[in-house]
Subunit: 399 residues, 2 copies
């Protein structure tokens, strides 16, 4: 739905809405012909499925496997093809770096270059985060004319590079050829307005390479995903509510924060996420709760671990239900089938439970049954209006 | 999906994809309450249905029955409402006439005019193709100032008229009133840029009518579907693959060729199509294989012959499966229910079998079961991204 229409129809209410995102929830059948979700012990989810409505979402559209950014943007109600958060900006959110209006960010990788200047390891042997932090501290010494630079370690060999200054642009190529055996690419402009930024980046890269040249395995660096601060209409204003984001991993909290939600940090486990949810229950109307472990098991190709991760989510779910949310949504940002060990385009099961649901006759939360559920197959960006309508938060359209 | 997004996300791969189009596949129940497809012997398709995913496509959109052009354009991933191949251009593809950038083509019909100049038979008694060829040879003698003309016989009373020259336009009315008992329409411009072309066409029609006036039943002609050469982003570039089209009928090969696929002519039967598929298997990544006989039987209103045509397709299907395509798609470009004896708007069953399918619990390829299949109900233009995703040919969107 159009954001202007949401802004126009949304109305304040006392209802509470909880969105539980099981990252990478959707799966493919394993050796026994059932998916990870279908094999998991989901007695609590199944009870909600029985009393609620099932459906499915396409994260972006038919055939499109999304990254975590677009997957979450869509669940928050934003068209991920319109609100495209660049990799640099996304990396910044993950470490709490707040991009300003004059910033251009890139995701950096420390890498290993051979004597011939070609990349031999794009990840510098997955350099430890602490060592990357030391390298970043040295790289901060490089000064550029007329702009500030920030170099922040992220995880393993990854870092964030931010240029801050008037008139910068993201119109330049990535220096990462994305393949080993090739040389890093010179950062040239892709449009006239990118020329000054490209020249500055070339200067910075040259200085950085000179500084690192004897530091095998981290004797080179690759930059990708040039991005300005994304301009996103704030979720709390669109929906006229107070919204909070509870996640273990900073990146997901960061995406929610880019959308104007209030991040509630401090959880290191799912149980701690639920504890934060309880603690802050009265302070917000909408809670985004992120559960990572289904995705990470799927990415590792570990069917059984993904199945168990879903079971573990289910086990504590009654604590969320006991808070008596008016509307509880359980879904995923995309599928991560263990058999593929990667994000996929397959639809994701969706469960909406609570006020005003038209309960269907589906008694299990599964890929198979969600096909025929009440909610049908939606684009993920259309899920939020449906959920908010259930919560009494969308007024009638027209007289 | 947007073609720019396809261009951005598509990636080279070693996978092989086969698209089998059973022309006019979808049907309506006959006297026994089952459709042509449901009555057919489809043991091989049913086996694929069991191991694969079913769904349905709307060729263009709800309620819209497409011609062969839009039906195929949609299956190739092009929005048929955007990439509208005019009837003139389509007629050209059918006889291998390659339109140039300065060409305007129309489909012509020889017709019978009464003594009062009104149309008494729009098809001139379905004049034999050979006689139409003789008429075309005479019409070629008509010369116009500043433009070349081409007049080519197609089939029965149909012919192709092409005007070639600088500054021509398709902004003129059709001369075919599409009803008998009316006079042919004067070719007037519908916009200022069509005026010169309209004047040329009027001049040509006048000369043609003078030439044919004593030749009952073919003493008149009707022109429709003025169209320039369509500009279609080439399929092989969009998808970064080598694509071939294997068809018995030239028109379908022609549409595929307009989309940049390489036509492989030479087949006069379905068995010969399969032989060509085997022969060229290593040379291409994507094969479009067209099976005409379901549609022609449907158009003739012959339920049993359509059923048998589908059974005959099924019988040789294992030879395609034996080639081990990574992804095999079986669908139709539209429905042609024998009970209607024409193209219809009804959804068309879709089967995708191969790598990464989320197998559903559907054990038969049928209109009835495809309703509840994993793939849901898609616009036909969205089918290709889904199939290509299964084949590993679409990269992730966003970080």
């Amino acid at each position: 739905m159009d954001l202007d229409l949401i802004r126009r129809l949304s109305q304040p209410h006392t209802s509470k809405v909880v969105l539980c995102v099981l990252d990478g929830l959707g799966g493919l059948p394993g050796s026994r012909g059932r998916t990870e979700l279908e094999e998991a012990d989901t007695k609590n989810l199944d009870r909600l499925a029985e009393a609620g409505s099932l459906g499915r979402t396409y994260p972006v559209g038919p055939g499109i496997a999304p990254g975590s950014g677009p997957g979450h943007m869509a669940l928050f109600g934003y068209d991920p093809l319109v609100f495209d958060i660049g990799r640099g900006a996304l990396e910044g959110t993950g470490i709490g770096f707040k991009l300003g209006p004059n910033d251009i960010a890139a995701r950096g990788n420390l890498c290993t270059l051979g004597p011939d200047g070609l990349i031999t390891d794009r990840r510098a042997g997955r350099l430890a985060t602490e060592r990357t932090a030391e390298v970043c501290a040295r790289l901060r010494e490089i000064k550029l004319p007329g702009v500030e630079t920030f170099v922040e370690p992220v995880q393993d060999q990854r870092f964030l590079l931010v240029l801050r200054g008037e008139g910068l642009s993201d119109q330049l190529v990535e220096t990462d050829p994305q393949h080993e055996g090739m040389a890093p690419i010179i950062a040239t402009a892709t449009a006239p307005e990118g020329e000054r930024t490209a020249a500055l980046v070339q200067q910075w890269v040259k200085a950085a390479e000179a500084m690192l040249k004897d530091d095998v395995p981290a004797n080179g660096l690759l930059l990708r995903g040039w991005s300005p601060r994304p301009e996103i209409p704030p979720f709390p204003e669109l929906w006229k509510l107070r919204a909070a984001a509870i996640t273990v991993y900073p990146m997901y909290r960061g995406v929610a924060e880019l959308c104007g939600m209030t991040p509630i940090p401090g959880a290191h486990t799912y149980a701690e996420e639920i504890a934060l949810l309880k603690e802050h229950w009265d302070e917000y109307d909408f809670f985004f709760l992120h559960y990572k472990y289904a995705d990470s098991a799927g990415e590792d190709g570990d069917f059984r671990r993904k199945q168990d991760a879903i079971s573990a989510f289910d086990e504590l779910l009654p604590q969320i239900v006991d808070l008596k949310p008016n509307v509880l949504i359980v879904t995923g940002d995309h599928s991560t089938p263990a058999t593929m060990a990667s994000h996929s385009w397959h639809t994701v099961p969706l469960l909406i439970w609570g006020d005003n649901v038209r309960a269907d006759d589906m008694h299990q939360f599964s890929e198979t049954l969600s096909r025929n559920g009440e909610l049908g197959t939606l684009l993920a960006k259309d899920m939020m209006p449906v959920a908010m309508a259930h919560a009494g938060r969308l007024a009638r359209y027209g007289a």
